[in-house]
Structures are given as C-alpha cells and as structure tokens.
Symmetry: C2
Subunit: 335 residues, 2 copies
DNA sequence: TTGTAGGCGTTATCAC
DNA sequence: GTGATAACGCCTACAA
C-alpha cells in the first residue's frame, strides 16, 4: 500500500495534524519540528494523496481540456501550451476529445464536473450552455478557446476571425480574382460564421458579389473539405480562387485539386486559415491566414489559473491573425 | 453545491445505502425501489462524485498517458486512440507531456500515482524504472508504448524498428546508393538504438560499411535534425542518401536540404521513419517507413483496460512497419 | 429488504 | 505548540 500521512506521523511521533500543518502552513509550526517532518517525508517517500485532498477541499488540482479534434495540429499545440502551464503549477490536465460531436463534449463536461476539476478550457462544439452554466454556477471558471460557447460569464481567448477572412479575401481580390469561392465551416460555430462573414463583407466592399454556389459548407474535418471542393470544381464556371476556412478542410480540398488535375496557383489560387507544418512544406507552399497558436493556448491557461486563484474577472481576449503569402496564390490564369 | 447521494435518498425517503445499492447492484434491490431511485436520480440530476468514489475504492476511474511530445502527430494520434477507448469505458485520461525530458516524465509518474490512476500508458523518455516499479508493485498496470522502459512486468506495444530501418536501408541500397548516412535517435531509447542497428546491419549485409562520420545523432526533435543534416552536408564527400530516424528530425533535415540548395532526390535521397501528413504533401512526396499508428494506440489502450479489469497477462505486441515508396528517393545523381 | 456505521486520506477547527 | 476529531462523498459489511 501507499504511504500516508499517518506513516509520517508515526515516524516522528507527532499527530497527523501537526504533520499536515508542517507541510501546508510552514509558519504555523516551529522550525525544528518542521525539519523533523520534512526529514520523515523524505525517508518515507510520502506524497499527499491527491484524491484525499480533493475530497477534503472540494476540488481536484486538475483542469479539464475539451478540444474538438486532438489530431488537428492546432489543438495539439494548444494542448501542449495548457499542459505546460498546468504542470508548472502542479495541476493535472484531463483531456477530452469531443471529435466535433456536441454529445461527446457534453459527456466530457459531466465527467469533468464529477471529477471536481478546478477549471475548464473548452473548445465549444455546439450548444452545451446548460451544462456549462451549472459548472459555472458551482464556481468552476471556464475559458472558451477558439470559439465562443454563448455562456455569459465565461472568459475567452479568440482570434479575430473576421479580420483574418478579410485578409484572405483582400489578398485574392488584389491579385485580380473575380470568381472567388469559399469552403466555410459549420454555421453553428462562431468561427464558421465569422470567417464567412468577414470574407463576404470584404468581397462586397470590393464590389464582388459572393454567389451562393460559390459558398460550400463543411464540418472542419478533412473529408468534408474534399467533397466541398469537388462540388465547386464541378461547376460550369468553376472559381479561380478558393478560401478554405480551416486547415483540415484545406487538406481535403487539396486532395480534390490533385484529383482534378488542376495546377496551383495557375488554375486555382488557394488560401487557408491556420498554418500547419504541411502547409509550409507542400508544393507550392500554401498561403495562409496564420493564428498565434502558442499565445492562444498560453493566454487561455493563464487566464484560467488566474481565475482559479481568485481573480474573478473573466476576460475576452481577441488576438490578431496574420496573412502569410506563399506560393499557392497568384493572378487568375497565370502561373 | 452539488447534488449528492444524500439528496437522492431524502427525495425517496430511503437511506443512502439503498440508493447506492440500487445504482451499483441493481439485483440487490427490488425493482420498484430501483425505479423510484432512478426517477429521483433523474429528477435531481444526481451524478456520483468521482472523487468520493475514488477515495473509497482506492483508485480513480482514469488512466494516465505520458507522451514524449504531444505536438508530434504520431503521439497526437495515439492520444486520440487512447482517449476514444477510455471514454467508451467511462474512464478519463490524464495527459502528461514529458517533452522528451526524463525529469518531467518522472514528475508525471508521481503525479499519476498520487491521483490513483487505474493504469498508465507510457512512452518512455529515459530511465524511470524505479518509480515505474513502485507503481507496478501497487498493482497499477503499465503499458509501454513505442519504446521500452526496461520494466519487467510492463506490457508493451511496439513496432519492429529493426525491420523498419532495414526496409529503408535496403530500398536505398537497391537504388544503387553507396554513400548512405543516417540521422539516428537518442541511443538511450530503444527506438533510437534499434533503428540504428537495423540500418547498420542491412548495410553490412550488402557489403557497405556504415562510416562513423555518416552517423549523426539527434534527440527526435526538429532542431536537432536540422543541425545533424547540416553537419552531414558539410562533409567533403557528402552522402547521396539519408535515412532519418523519426518524422520530427526529418522536418529539420528538410530545412537543411532546402538551405543547402540540394534537390530531392537528384542530389540527396531521403527516407523518413513514421509517416505524417506533411510527408505526403511535401514536394516531392517523402518516402517513409510507416507505422500502424491507430493500431498502436488502440492495442495499447485495449491491453491496458484488459489488465485493469483483471487479466493479469502483460503482453508485448510488436507490429510491422511498411515501406511507402514515394518520390524522395531515386538513384544517386539521377533525377 | 433496508438502515447504521465505518473508513478511504486529507485538512482545518477547536481544545488543551 | 500540538493533538484529537469532524468532515468531504462514496461504498459495503453487518445489523435489524
């Protein structure tokens, strides 16, 4: 069995109360006693049982992280940033992969609740405001990441999606494109909506109407991107430029491009949202709207811990995107 | 506050014992009683507190996952597979990113121990056999993944690294290369050692001596791959073919190739270990030794839960690799 | 069939 | 300065 505080107490002929105090409130115990305890701890290899402590304190020293797709490098990076910061503070990370399914996210939320996590970082997958609200009412800080859950008191770390989409659109327009299409994300997600809106708006301001048949929708997963691109390429007058609203759907769209024998950017100019290693390495390197991934994860984790440690102010932080022009975009019909 | 078993008991005028029984041992309670309880559970929204249960049972319904680099898509996929299976069984996953640092892995191990996890899936980062042994002695099943920790009773899911490296070497030899180099992984890791051994052996069998200056070592991270490749390219007679022992170091090596102005495969043939999306998309597409990623994660998780649920047999499962020939390899000096 | 009570490991309150 | 004790929520012998 494991060594408990009783073993340490026995070792030094003190009560468990004193041992606990020596460990948690060093000032409340005379230095010599404290040293004796510390020595005994070293000797026995005692480590406080996290479960016992959690039960007593009403919260576990761990945080929940719900991502929509752990295989998307964007969320893998986020996970790393969050885990880094949690580990530094002695917290654990319970990871849940919602796989873009709201039911799974809800299940995860319940699970985290019953585990008394100290806080939750959450990539919303759909409508789970009810469960979130309960958690929040119980005093569990919540930080939305990437998307917005609709929960009132949640903090959030987001990216300026409208700006990003606008950058993509303006770049394409500047190159002289007129038949510009987009593969948009799910419209029940803020990222899906905002990227489409920013894109449409930029086009309109340039006097270009975004045709209905030039807007295809996907679910932010690879397969849907491929299908959407295939539909676009099947049009009588296919677009000469395409803005794809996330990296996974872009991976799928690329498959369709290859399949159709089109050359990039001669036959089709491509702009993605969110950078990824493969985007830099592919041929030609992909023009993208990049997000400050590390900052997103770090800020979310930092805000979460600030609030866990007492600062009540939930903040909504919006970060800027950056257009990185590489070689997948060019004037229509030119190589 | 949260709703506890007491609230449910009050609701139906029963003792908490009966409620607990109705929930955990349906057969030990008359059906009508059970129904009343279930109804009350629904009404109150009661969910058992995982912490209380864990304390009582001496183990939490969660497993630990220690990976060496969560941003490496290989481990991100593993994480997904493990989380999938855990979630299906009602277990949570505590994720720890060791970042290839043994101290962090050890810290993580202690953390998981104090959290009374039911089992651990573990990508060894170095020598943590002592802590692992304690865990194991406490009855916590451990499954090594990808590498081998040296722990006696651990199960393991591995890949045939020697075979994989051999496939790479033979492919290069078959193409006619003579000056073949490798960027090997850390030699304190089984993957690092075995891939180098298999590679060397295949060369020797073909009558090619692997020169000392043609073996560079990295730490399985991108930056080290770049530096290693730079050293290789600075040789008076640089190699015409290069086998890189993992995908991250390959990413770095690619940077060095670009920087040096070499063309692939005309000036240098490249074979990687482990496939990645960018490997397929890059130009030219990368020849790789692929690992059955999903199977690795799934088998590890399945073995872990089998053992959690009582089957004592730790197994060592070794999976085959597969050479995928794409366009980054060709005869020396030919395009 | 159901209830009472003990205890898992911890921290904190209250005596001494 | 230190110790005894209660409490957190749960499950399960044992008693009724």
């Amino acid at each position: 069995m494991s060594v408990t505080i009783h073993d340490v107490a026995r070792q030094v002929n003190l009560s468990i109360a004193t041992v606990s105090r020596a460990l948690n409130r060093p000032e409340s115990v005379p230095e010599p006693t404290r040293q004796r305890v510390l020595e005994a701890v070293r000797l026995t290899g005692y480590r406080p049982d996290a479960i016992g402590r959690s039960l007593r304190e009403g919260r576990s020293r761990s945080v929940g992280l719900i991502v929509s797709d752990i295989r998307n490098p964007f969320y893998a990076s986020i996970t790393k940033a969050v885990e880094d910061i949690a580990q530094a503070r002695g917290y654990g990370v319970l990871i849940c992969n919602a796989d873009e399914k709201p039911e799974r996210a809800q299940e995860a939320l319940h699970f985290l609740a019953s585990h008394q996590v100290s806080g939750i970082i959450h990539v919303p997958t759909g409508e789970n405001v009810a469960v979130l609200g309960e958690l929040e009412a119980r005093g569990v800080p919540i930080v939305d990441l990437d998307r917005v859950s609709g929960l009132q008191n949640a903090g959030a770390v987001l990216v300026n999606n409208r700006q990003g989409a606008r950058q993509a659109a303006e770049h394409l327009i500047g190159l002289g494109h007129q038949r510009i299409a987009t593969i948009a994300g799910p419209q029940h997600l803020t990222t899906g909506r905002e990227r489409l809106e920013g894109f449409r708006q930029a086009l309109e301001e340039a006097g270009i109407r975004l045709l209905k048949r030039h807007v295809e929708f996907g679910d932010f997963r690879e397969a849907s991107g491929m299908r959407a691109a295939q539909r676009l390429f099947a049009l009588p007058k296919p677009p000469t430029a395409l803005f794809v609203a996330n990296n996974e759907m872009m991976a799928g769209a690329l498959g369709a491009v290859l399949e159709s024998g089109r050359r990039i950017p001669h036959d089709i100019s491509l702009v993605g949202f969110d950078d990824a290693r493969w985007a830099q390495y592919m041929h030609p390197p992909l023009t993208v709207v990049a997000q400050p991934i590390d900052a997103i994860g770090t800020l979310a984790a930092e805000q979460l811990f600030e609030r866990i440690e007492g600062k009540p102010a939930a903040r909504i932080q919006v970060l800027d995107t950056q257009l990185i022009v590489r070689a997948s975009t060019g004037p229509p019909g030119a190589s």
